[in-house]
Symmetry: C2
Subunit: 169 residues, 2 copies
Amino acid sequence: MKYGIAAFPSKKLQDLANSYRKRYDTKYAKVPPHITLKEPFELKDEELDQVLEEIRHAASELNPFKLKVVKFSTFYPGTNTIYMKIEENKDLTVLHQRLNSGKLDFGMEHPFVPHITIGQDMMYDEMQDVIGRLKMERIAHEETIDRFSLLYQLEDGTWTAYETFKLGK
Amino acid sequence: MKYGIAAFPSKKLQDLANSYRKRYDTKYAKVPPHITLKEPFELKDEELDQVLEEIRHAASELNPFKLKVVKFSTFYPGTNTIYMKIEENKDLTVLHQRLNSGKLDFGMEHPFVPHITIGQDMMYDEMQDVIGRLKMERIAHEETIDRFSLLYQLEDGTWTAYETFKLGK
């Protein structure tokens, strides 16, 4: 089964992200707006318990993190994706490292660029037009995230939350 | 903010439910297939912590429950909804009662009929056609559910999982 780990921001930020996603994100209906903390990975049923234990252990040792959206950006020319860029900070970096090392090291395809996707699989012209407009907008949003979720993917591509983990004691 | 409590069945049962939902359920893209344990209710931000505490307390005192799908059925003439009917059992009934009484009693619009919706807002003729065919199919699925989730609703009607609760110690 395919799993992934993500953090969901506040309703306010999710609503803002969705105002773009409904128009520009082909995966809008598959999962709520999120920050990916661990790329999708495969687990056999019998491996789940040990991984859960490891994630629980990691979460308890880590801190809630500041989520600060600083600007809109794009992964172009890698992919025609636009996103809200999240400022890196130590708590977030450590959380990402912890979820991708040791017993939780299942390989990473991409370097960690903390973000909330708001558009993907866009045509080049539309992407340039949208990011051009977004670059002129001011965005300043800050909140604290104190939890993250392990999700699994259904056959139709949608994600269901399996368990939430609180950061810290 | 609007919250609700639901349990998500196994991927296998969700995939089966979605094979119908993608055609017949107007809320297909809003939330994964689920059993509603507590109807949507409003909470102010400052009320959340106390309710979370109460739900955690309830979950710890209760048992995982058997989910046995026994047949397809419909809420017609109440609504043009079709669903997988879940056999009632004591653990499930007690869980539902506990999540809807005492400090968690926020009123209920419907009596508790445990189910997984697979079609809603259907035209009468299509609903009759579909339920007629489904009544002739055999369905026998049983599993144990050991957790449930508190969800909140975004402005576009989609639901995000806020926290999962394990049933039992």
